[in-house]
Amino acid sequence: MSVNLLKETGPREVFCGLTSIVWLHRRMPDAFFLVVGSRTCAHLIQSAAGVMIFAEPRFGTAILSERDLAGLADAQDELDRVARELLERRPEIRTLFLVGSCPSEVIKLDLERAAERLNDELKGRVQVVNYSGSGIETTFTQGEDGALAALIPLLPHTDQRGLLLVGTLADAVEDRLIHLFGRIGIDSVSSLPPRQSTELPAVGPGTTVLLTQPYLTTTARLLRDRGARVLTAPFPLGAEGSRSWMEAAAKDFQINPDQVASVLDPLVSRARNALTPHREILEGKRIFLLPESQLELPLARFLQRECGMELIEVGTPYLNREQMAEELALLPDGTSVMEGQHVEKQLDRVRASQPDLVVCGMGLANPLEAEGIATKWSIELVFSPIHGIDQAGELAELFSRPLKRRELIRQALNPPCNVPNNSDPVHA
């Protein structure tokens, strides 16, 4: 027996890869992400980025106009002009990502050629790379995979033994993980993406890679091509997953398991304590995860095994069975894992199953809340510091809070009513 793998196609309700710029640009303050696309792309990123931008942001869109499409203007020349204008305004930028979009892919605008040409022109003052975040090829977090994959050819070579953490982490979480690896006995730990885009980590046959995020398929393949060993392990969400993840690295560095246990076991038992109040709320509750962030499988594993939740359906935009093997193995037999989406049919299943909590995108959350179903935004999970043993309590809290809140206000806001009430609500 194993999980029940299902597939569905139809209308989808997910972000495209451009959305990952929202956290990538914060991680690398000396990088700029220039989307080559349409007004829709610009509007998408500013809407997903919390609606408004407070200062001049480190991302923008070169909006294609009719002149570019009709061939009246040479799109490559135009792109050079826009890139020059941008770099003149932002002299502190060291890495420029040219990001492909749906329209630029459809008109086959060659961003690789543009990046090469700009690199020649800028002579190392700014490094220019390109990748696609288009919605016809990528889903949400896959954009980060593209951005990191674009950096791999630039990584310096090393023959030194070292651990490389791949995937954006909150700075504080990264510091903590590096500290813990040090206590275990792994002293050489670097990260991709780095905090400064120019401080790229080195890679080579002595490099062991741990993926911090489950959506980095292409990046992992390119790192293997550079001679690195990419470990497969559960992802570092929850105490159990994070422990196994760190253990995988320790094993690869041939560290005595007793040493690992002496460092991690106290942390795990502390995390169990931190989980207790949340487990009290979550235990036995039924959860439905809609596909979006690609974190759904590891989250489901954590919520089921460490918080006692019951999994109704675990959606995922796409499934890389090899990379997810360890996660799939930890899910209960018969769990419905749905790859792809037909959003209408999926919402029918949500309504029919009346879950206690649904993990979904921002477009769907309030309509489900209005139907009486508690929700959690999936995008919050890619912004929050949730990785590692020490964060297990915080991660659980993200799921217990909506349920706790409902309990707090339910009685006062939904008093029992014996008289028929036929008027439409004021917010409808």
Binding site: G10, E13, N366
Partner: protein, 520 residues
């Protein structure tokens, strides 16, 4: 290709979504890739709607492009019609689908479906959101009503008199993601009902397809938001002879003018010009002694065309402000905004580059900014108070309370929300008196007794260089005595004055000279 860091308006298909989502029984099939589904959150998050917008996205992927995307469109049209059973179907495409030229509208029309299908062609690479909304409303109304259009235009807006009924008007233009439309509609209905005028259809907000069919039964169309409804109103006038209003009732003067226009068009006796004084508190509040301190406040205005124009008039005529900047991102409204600015002796800023707007704001050295949420951020950086008067919509622009902009109550709301960010009269007076007390220097100090205030002042001022000008230590020290919230303005004014009088150095005397110069 244009470098865009932030945009005031979305693409035109978002405008079409606003129309579809505003109405009941209208569904929109949008040929678009998966990323475009982000637009749902504009409605469910920003406007806190309790239902998804009625939109089916075809979400085609790269692998579909080699195959039959036309079949994909038809499948989604069929499924959407079956599942949602709409009374009318809008079919269109977003920017990417426009490039692959499947012509989804024509495909849907050829499917033999038994419902009205409106083919939307919204050029994504040249047009924007408000245009898309206006075009969608126009195409929808036109395709539902064109069969009904009479051969001869016999419409008489005074027919209600002969027919022995109350006059009846439609309210056109209010939509989701429009600034305070929800509350304006209630307020305008109230305003009209006071004068014995009935409201027939409100569209698109809350309208059904049957309501659209009833549009020609009105005596008059009220065009509440020209950005959205003007093309529709003009078509209804051309095809049915129904006249429409051109005054937007925001502010005391404009509300009165609006009532006069409506009464004249309907053949009624216009109401008393005193009505606003009786029904709104703005006139008295503006006349009261505390408001003396509002006199000549320098205000910078930027927003959509309708709200920017209304704000300029209110500021100048009803609050006694000085308008030092006026602009809009609505290119469609550039002409009237330019004219209004010219009448005030300034040049209008027509731009959709928020950094250009911020630069203009800084140059105008305003004491109050009326703008969009973006200008609120820019004003915050400049240390200038700001009130929001226009879309793009932010979750804070959809308050729980009733908060119209139009009509008499709208004028009350405007008085409160524009004046409160300013220092109130007596308060400003007291701060002027006590400005040398350390509590008023460098930010309001807490009663909890943090250091700062006097502590922050112990560091002696040093001379500084600003471009070609040198501020002496004595000049900087004098400047520090001025309350922090006007210090930037005084610094700029003094520098302008110093340059205009050919000085290269600014000391305390220069400050006093400049002060005398500017108060003269």
């Amino acid at each position: 290709m244009q470098l865009t860091l932030w945009t005031y308006e979305g693409p035109p298909h978002v405008g079409a979504m606003r129309i579809a989502a505003s109405m009941k029984g209208v569904h929109y099939v949008l040929h678009a890739p998966q990323g475009d589904t982000y637009a749902d959150l504009l409605f469910t998050m920003i406007e806190r709607r309790d239902q998804r917008p009625p939109v089916t996205y075809t979400t085609f992927q790269a692998r579909d492009l080699g195959g039959d995307t036309a079949e994909l469109v038809k499948r989604h049209v069929r499924e959407a019609v079956e599942r949602f059973q709409p009374d009318a179907l809008l079919v269109g495409e977003s920017c990417t689908a426009e490039l692959i030229q499947d012509q989804p509208g024509a495909l849907a029309a050829g499917m033999g479906l038994n419902l009205p299908i409106v083919n939307l062609e919204l050029p994504a690479y040249s047009k924007k959101e408000n245009w898309g909304a206006a075009e969608t409303l126009y195409q929808l109304v036109r395709s539902l009503l064109k069969e009904q259009a009479p051969a001869e235009l016999l419409h008489d807006p005074k027919a209600w008199q002969k027919e022995g009924r109350r006059p009846r008007v439609n309210l056109l233009g209010p939509s989701l993601l429009g600034f305070r439309c929800r509350d304006d509609v209630l307020e305008v209905q109230r305003l009209l009902s006071i004068h014995g005028i009935d409201v027939g259809v409100i569209a698109p907000l809350g309208a059904t397809v049957a309501d659209v069919h009833r549009l020609p039964q009105a005596d008059l169309n009220v065009c509440l938001y020209p950005e959205i409804a003007e093309s529709t109103c003009a078509w209804l006038e051309r095809s049915f002879g129904i006249p429409f209003t051109s005054t937007v009732p925001i502010g005391i003067g404009a509300t009165h003018d609006f009532l006069v226009e409506v009464h004249n068009l309907l053949g009624m006796t216009p109401p008393s010009p005193q009505e606003g004084i009786r029904r709104s508190r703005l006139p008295w509040y503006s006349e009261s002694v505390d408001s003396t301190y509002l006199t000549g406040k320098r205000v910078f205005i930027f927003g959509d065309g309708t709200h920017a124009l209304a704000a300029a008039r209110i500021c100048r005529e009803e609050l006694g402000f000085e308008v030092v900047g006026l602009g809009t991102y609505s290119r469609e409204m550039a002409r009237p905004v330019r004219a209004a600015a010219k009448a005030m002796g300034i040049e209008a800023l027509i731009s959709d580059d928020y950094l250009a707007v911020e630069a203009a704001m800084a140059a105008a050295a305003p004491e109050l900014v009326l703008g969009t949420q973006m200008e609120r951020h820019s004003a915050k950086r400049l240390g200038v108070p700001c009130a929001v008067i226009s879309t793009p919509m932010h979750v804070q622009d959809v308050p729980a309370r009733n908060s119209p902009q139009m009509g008499w109550e709208g004028a009350n709301v405007i008085f409160d929300s524009w004046v409160h960010p300013l220092m109130m009269g007596l308060e400003e007076h007291l701060i002027g008196m006590f400005r040398h007390d350390f509590e008023f220097v460098d930010g309001h100090q807490s009663h909890l007794g943090h250091s700062g205030g006097a502590g922050a002042e112990t560091e002696p001022a040093a001379s500084t260089i600003q471009g070609d000008l040198i501020w002496t230590a004595d000049g900087e020290a004098e400047l520090k005595k001025i309350p922090f919230f006007v210090r930037g303005k005084v610094r700029r004014n003094t520098e302008t004055f110093a340059k205009s009088t050919g000085r290269t150095q600014i000391d305390s005397e220069t400050l006093y000279d400049a002060k005398a110069h500017f108060s003269a």
